[in-house]
Amino acid sequence: MSDSYIFRYAAIMVILVAAVLSAVAMFLKPAQDKNVAVARMRAILASANVEATAENAIELFDKYILEEEVISPEGDVVAIYKNGKLEKGDVRAFDINLKEELYNKGKGKEYILPLYLANVDGKKYYIFPLQGRGLWGQIYGNLAVEEDLNTVGGSMFGHDKETPGLGAEIELPPFESQFIGKKIFDDKGNFTSIKVLKGASKILTGDQLVHGVDAISGGTITSNGVSAMIQSNLENYLNYIKKQKQL
C-alpha cells in the first residue's frame, strides 16, 4: 500500500472519529451538566450535615439553602438569590466559577465570591466554598460556619486525583468530622484559620487546640493543601465577616 493511501486513510478516519465524538459529547452535555450541578448541591448540603442523594438533592437544596449571596472583596453583598429568583444584583452564587474568580484575584483583577446561607432545622450556617491545590490536582470543599461566624459546624472536602488511601482520605468522615466545633478566630478576634497539622492534638496546647486538626499520615502535601485552602479562601471573606459582626 502506498504512502499516500496511508495518509488518506489516517486523515479520513481521524476526521470521522472526531465528528462522532463531538456529536456524542454535545448530545450528552445537558445530562452531564445536571449531574455536576447535583453533585455540587450535595457537597454544599453535606458541609451543613445534610445527607442528600442524587434524587433528592435539588429538593433539599431548595429547602435548606435559604439564600445565595455574592460577596465583593470589600465585604459587601452585591447579589442575593432567594426563593428561586434574584432579589439583588445579576449573578447567582451557584453559577459563580470560584476557580476563575480566584484566578482573577491572582491577576489583580476584580473578583466576586459565592456564599450560601443555610438553615438546617433551626441551625443557621454560613457556607463558604473552598478551592485549592492538593498533590496531584485541585482540591475543593465547603466549610459551614455557625451563626457566630466563628465556630465550624461542618465541612466537606473533595479532590480530583489525590492518592487513594492517603491524600484521598480528606473526603472521608474521619477527617472531615474533626472540623466540627473548631474556631476560625481566637478570643481577641484575630483570624487564625484552621491548621491541618501532623499530630495537632498532641503539639497544640490549651486554647490553640480549637484552631487545628490532625493531618493525614502519608498525605502531607494534600493535608497542607487543605490547610492553605481554608486559610486563603476564608481570608477573602474577612471583610464580609467583619461587617456582619458589626451589624
Binding site: 500500500m1 493511501y5 496511508i6 486513510y9 489516517a10 478516519m13 481521524v14 472519529v17 462522532v20 465524538l21 456524542v24 459529547a25 450528552l28 445530562a31 452531564q32 449531574n35 455536576v36 447535583v38 453533585a39 442524587a54 486525583k161
Partner: protein
C-alpha cells in the same frame, strides 16, 4: 469458484467463540490479562458490574468495527487504527457513564479511561478481529467480555458481601450476626486480598480443568 456455505448465526463454531472465553480460554484466569482493573474496581458489586459491562461493550464493538475495516487497514499503521477505534469507543462509554450513572463513573475514575490500554482488547483485535469476519469477531468480543465480566462480578459479590456486608449497596448480612460479634472484614476491600481472590479462582479452575496445568 468456491460455493459459499451459509453458516447459521449461532452454529456450534460460533457458540464456541462465546463460551470458550468463559472458562478454558478466560482472559483473566487463563490469559492473565486485564488484572489491574479487576483488582481495582471490585471492592463493590455495582462498579464491578458497570466496569464489566463497559469492557464487554467496548470489546464487542471494537472487534466488530476493526473486523469490518480489516481489509482496508494499512498494515503499517494497524495498531494506531485499532487504538483510535478503541479510544473512541471508550470515550463514548465514559461520556455515557458521566451522563447517566454519575456516581459510578466517579468511583470508576481512571479505570474507564484505562480500558483503552486493557490488554484483552488489543489482544483480541490483533489475534482475532484482524483475520475473521465481523459477526464472528463480534461474538468473540462478547465472549471475552463476558469471560472478564463473570470474574469481576464474582469478585465484586464476594468482596462486597464479606467486606461491607452489603450487595449492590443493600445490607444483606443479617443484623443478628453483628449482634453475635461478627465484624466486616476490612482486609478483603483492599487490593492485596483481591489478588488472593483471583488466585483462588485460578486454583479452583485448574483443579477442575487439568488440561490448563503447565506440564513443567
Amino acid at each position: 469458484m468456491e460455493t459459499k456455505e451459509k453458516e447459521s448465526l449461532f452454529s456450534a463454531k460460533n457458540r464456541k467463540l462465546i463460551f470458550n472465553p468463559l472458562n478454558l480460554d478466560n482472559p483473566i484466569t487463563v490469559q492473565v490479562l486485564g488484572i489491574c482493573s479487576a483488582l481495582a474496581v471490585t471492592a463493590k458489586l455495582k462498579p464491578a458490574f458497570v466496569m464489566a459491562l463497559s469492557v464487554t461493550v467496548v470489546t464487542a464493538f471494537s472487534n466488530l468495527v476493526i473486523s469490518a475495516m480489516r481489509n482496508g487497514i494499512p498494515p503499517r499503521i494497524r495498531i494506531i487504527v485499532q487504538l483510535t477505534v478503541v479510544a473512541a469507543l471508550v470515550i463514548v462509554v465514559d461520556q455515557l457513564l458521566k451522563a447517566y450513572v454519575y456516581d459510578v463513573s466517579r468511583q470508576l475514575s481512571v479505570f474507564v479511561g484505562l480500558i483503552i490500554t486493557n490488554c484483552i482488547l488489543m489482544g483480541r483485535l490483533e489475534a482475532f478481529a484482524m483475520s475473521n469476519k465481523p459477526w464472528q469477531s463480534f461474538l468473540d468480543g462478547i465472549g471475552n467480555g463476558l469471560g472478564y465480566s463473570w470474574i469481576l462480578i464474582a469478585m465484586g459479590i464476594v468482596r462486597e458481601f464479606f467486606g461491607s456486608g452489603t450487595l449492590w449497596g443493600y445490607p444483606v448480612m443479617p443484623q443478628f450476626m453483628y449482634d453475635l460479634g461478627y465484624k466486616n472484614n476490612g482486609l478483603i476491600i483492599l487490593p492485596p486480598m483481591a489478588l488472593i481472590l483471583v488466585g483462588t479462582i485460578i486454583w479452583i479452575q485448574r483443579s477442575k480443568s487439568r488440561e490448563l496445568i503447565d506440564k513443567s
